[in-house]
Symmetry: D3
Subunit: 224 residues, 6 copies
Amino acid sequence: MAQKPAKRLPPSPPPRAGEGREAAPSSRKTKGAARDDDRVITALELPVTGLTPAMQAYFDKCAEKLGFIPNVLKAYAFDMPKLEAFVAMYNDLMLAPAGLSKLEREMIAVAVSSHNRCYYCLVAHGAAVRSLADDPVLGELMVMNYRAARLDRRQRALLDFAVKLTAEPWQIEEADRNALREAGFTDRDIWDIAAVAGFFNMSNRIASATDMRPNSAYHGQKRE
Amino acid sequence: MAQKPAKRLPPSPPPRAGEGREAAPSSRKTKGAARDDDRVITALELPVTGLTPAMQAYFDKCAEKLGFIPNVLKAYAFDMPKLEAFVAMYNDLMLAPAGLSKLEREMIAVAVSSHNRCYYCLVAHGAAVRSLADDPVLGELMVMNYRAARLDRRQRALLDFAVKLTAEPWQIEEADRNALREAGFTDRDIWDIAAVAGFFNMSNRIASATDMRPNSAYHGQKRE
Amino acid sequence: MAQKPAKRLPPSPPPRAGEGREAAPSSRKTKGAARDDDRVITALELPVTGLTPAMQAYFDKCAEKLGFIPNVLKAYAFDMPKLEAFVAMYNDLMLAPAGLSKLEREMIAVAVSSHNRCYYCLVAHGAAVRSLADDPVLGELMVMNYRAARLDRRQRALLDFAVKLTAEPWQIEEADRNALREAGFTDRDIWDIAAVAGFFNMSNRIASATDMRPNSAYHGQKRE
Amino acid sequence: MAQKPAKRLPPSPPPRAGEGREAAPSSRKTKGAARDDDRVITALELPVTGLTPAMQAYFDKCAEKLGFIPNVLKAYAFDMPKLEAFVAMYNDLMLAPAGLSKLEREMIAVAVSSHNRCYYCLVAHGAAVRSLADDPVLGELMVMNYRAARLDRRQRALLDFAVKLTAEPWQIEEADRNALREAGFTDRDIWDIAAVAGFFNMSNRIASATDMRPNSAYHGQKRE
Amino acid sequence: MAQKPAKRLPPSPPPRAGEGREAAPSSRKTKGAARDDDRVITALELPVTGLTPAMQAYFDKCAEKLGFIPNVLKAYAFDMPKLEAFVAMYNDLMLAPAGLSKLEREMIAVAVSSHNRCYYCLVAHGAAVRSLADDPVLGELMVMNYRAARLDRRQRALLDFAVKLTAEPWQIEEADRNALREAGFTDRDIWDIAAVAGFFNMSNRIASATDMRPNSAYHGQKRE
Amino acid sequence: MAQKPAKRLPPSPPPRAGEGREAAPSSRKTKGAARDDDRVITALELPVTGLTPAMQAYFDKCAEKLGFIPNVLKAYAFDMPKLEAFVAMYNDLMLAPAGLSKLEREMIAVAVSSHNRCYYCLVAHGAAVRSLADDPVLGELMVMNYRAARLDRRQRALLDFAVKLTAEPWQIEEADRNALREAGFTDRDIWDIAAVAGFFNMSNRIASATDMRPNSAYHGQKRE
């Protein structure tokens, strides 16, 4: 429980995978608690490798659209098959057409990450909820305690299922699925809810296991 | 676990204690999830009463200094002895000269409130950490998971004690006090750490029990 | 988890705040496990200070009425503003006229302290339940497991709310408040239940953090 | 979580097993929360049966030595093989010569029952600790939080093992056994500690499952 | 949390109680993780003693009927009164005529042992469920998560009660007993359910405290 | 907590995705608790779709190599992008060359699934541990309680990290990573451990959310 060890970085750290792909982080405001978060992305020293053309194109698209490469992608970029599998699964779950809106999928992401107290995912996906909802406070509610939000029945059922599945997966039974059906979800939606909640239970653990740091740019996004 | 009931408010709600003391909330931006938070402060219908001169002066000072009256004060304002006792204890603990800095006291407040997932206190005191530290990200770290912050040994020991005392008070023993002493805290500091952590364990529960809503103004404070 | 360290007391300990205010503890029976509890009140070495006239009068009144000064007051007596704020809040919550009887407030105190396994509060407030109820066994039931007591619906709802608020404050919702309303409590009563439960969640933690010892006189009170 | 149901007893209840064996309970003071505890021993309606001569002799010996038959024995008396097996195991564990003193065995009983919040066992064995230790406060400490007691290293190790074994038996490993060995216990003592802790984990559950009530006489025993 | 210590066994270990009663374990297949489980039964070095004639007869009967002596009996065989009390209670609970079938009693044993993650009892009683049900999969379901089994209402109510009594005995109330009554159980059955669940809460803890190893023969029993 | 509802299946259920790819399940022994597990794979009614050529080839390879298509693949086969992303991630994590052996990866899978009490994954991956280790008992130990296994330091550190990451991901810190490094793991291995543990935290939840049933063929695999 002692303080964090001094980072085991050499005086002049070697570049990490994909690191040079965006404008130098020193040009952004990264003082204070986030000061190293755009430079030292995880607590692990992983090998440097080149991006495949497909992944290079994906990183370029991120940089163009977001202004930066999400650190989770840079963290995975030490190994192309892992990066590609992660990107394929993420994009299918969070961006493909589905019965759940993109906002609902991000609300699951944040409520699950709140249960697991995952710093990376709360920062990155909290910003996504703020933006998709055009409501800074909804993002805060998902981070802090979704039960305090004024949700309609559908969204409350969604998050109750996702958080119970996170906390006590062994207790999920037909009655829980029926509560979703009664709130208007189809069996296909139930799969998607389970898959998104499951995915963030995976990602939360990879982020916590590696002390993954969120890009500093997320913090200020959509605060008003 | 059903959705929130429609608020039991009459079409034209009566003023609540102290409510008229600041600029009309409708002049602020309170759309979205926080839209009623400056108007319907708790889930309880409590009697209206007048402020004592001392409390009126205190409210005036808050309005002048902060631009608004913190909702917790308005919530307590149905009963002057309760309000005065709360204000006296709060001001002594959080503002009086002590071995702990004001920032350290607010860090305890937020780390304890994070364990208890208290929406009101996380919003109000998260803003205080952001401001006192002049570091928006430190506030987020206290809200999300203080263990992910790069703290020095003193602050880490402080929060480890406060959060263990919150989670499992029956497990605190001499070894825990000695860990604080070894991190440089005096016995008087230990009392203060316990008192601040204890105070927010109280406040978190009063806020959760009454569904207390934070002033919408907190959300945007010190975000850069 | 090792044994308690030998107390860090010099051979001839300096007087602590307010310590000389009552008859010498050596005149009472304090052998066995409580043998030092009237003399070494906490594990902290705190400064000695004089009582304000108001607090001196209050201590005198305690000594006259109870035959002793409750150790929690002596523990707080190193700092007058803290003592005064504690006394003001305690007296308002536990003794002022309210919709809850004094016994009901003490039952909350003990059920909350039982969840938190707080030795000081269980001893002191267990004695209060025994006395106010004129029923030694009711005090034992509150200490051991309130669910085993034959309570009427009102008292059971009271304690179920207070203990849930203690154990999982983040789970309290409108349904919990409605359960109190259906058992006959007003919204004002709900505030008071929350405030008393909250207060003992604070006090339990201050007592546990400081290893506060109850006056030995409590143990034998109202045993038949 | 509603109030206790009205007892399902006919106006004139039939005698239960062994019930007539002692002086009429109405001659004792059983007002208040314990008022029915000498008459309605469990929430179950079990058949009445006669005692075997051996068990009759045992009950007679209890009545002579204690002044009453412990309710747990009366509860088991609906079936002689069950009563006999329980008595044989109890007497071997708690009364036979062993490396653990009788007081230490009773301290385990109460610390385990405190973790499990078992009303019957806390009352009956709390009284035993008070008596065997000739120290009313030690009994209260075992009931409330054994960690607050000033125990020597041996007794602390004993209770730490017993309570960990109660709370998380799957976590017990060689290191835990070695902690007992280092505190001076033999392997044979370790068996006995496990067996006593295990026995009360059984008895706590039988008592809680049947709402077993302790004899009212225990409450006042050895209070000074 | 380090690895298991090298067993503290002398090069040529002395015989343990009852050890020579069956065919030499080396004649069975005990390679791999179970390789020592028929020879080193617990982590404790306990005295060797002779069996009483009654216990010798019982061991002989086990050897004849099962082909081996269950290790729990050998573990208890260092002390005849303990062995006899254990055998008497076990045989009464698990084998005597009762409202619960033998399979139902074994299902309780395994579901309780699964909650407590007790290796010995899961192996030995998992084999019993497989055999009594003539269904290898039912045994796996009891070991892994009884909630995933397709149980009828009676068996589900049985296991829900037994597992709640295991996990949170302090929460068992009349409503829980009524759920059993509504599923068709008599008050006498409720006693038996509590007694079997209680017994395995005891045995799980004795086995975990001593690192008791199951006979290797159980693993292959009734796998098809 | 009531019994399982009668399956909502029409008298003549439509074929599900990929279902016809193997020998008719009725030709296998699927009586008892697993009787429907090869036919009704989840509690959800999901659309039927055709396999892409790549997935068809993969299913054919499974059928040839294993003798059946694992039910998790059939469950995912309602949507090709989801199936392909799952297969890509699974094969990379569990089968690609890495610093962890395949057995070690399966041991993580089962220890994580044991914490989460996931029936599907315990059955399928328990069989994998039995086979890869050529040791039926090691599989049982991973299912029941990995702490009871005689593991070397490397494997114990591996599972301690994976299970802590499963139970309390917010508590993982540099000290936990260092424990892995001291047991001989590289930073790249730490990523892989986190990724495998994370993957099964996802899969456990998808399986529990959908009541996914394991192929009956797993139960008998490698039992001797």
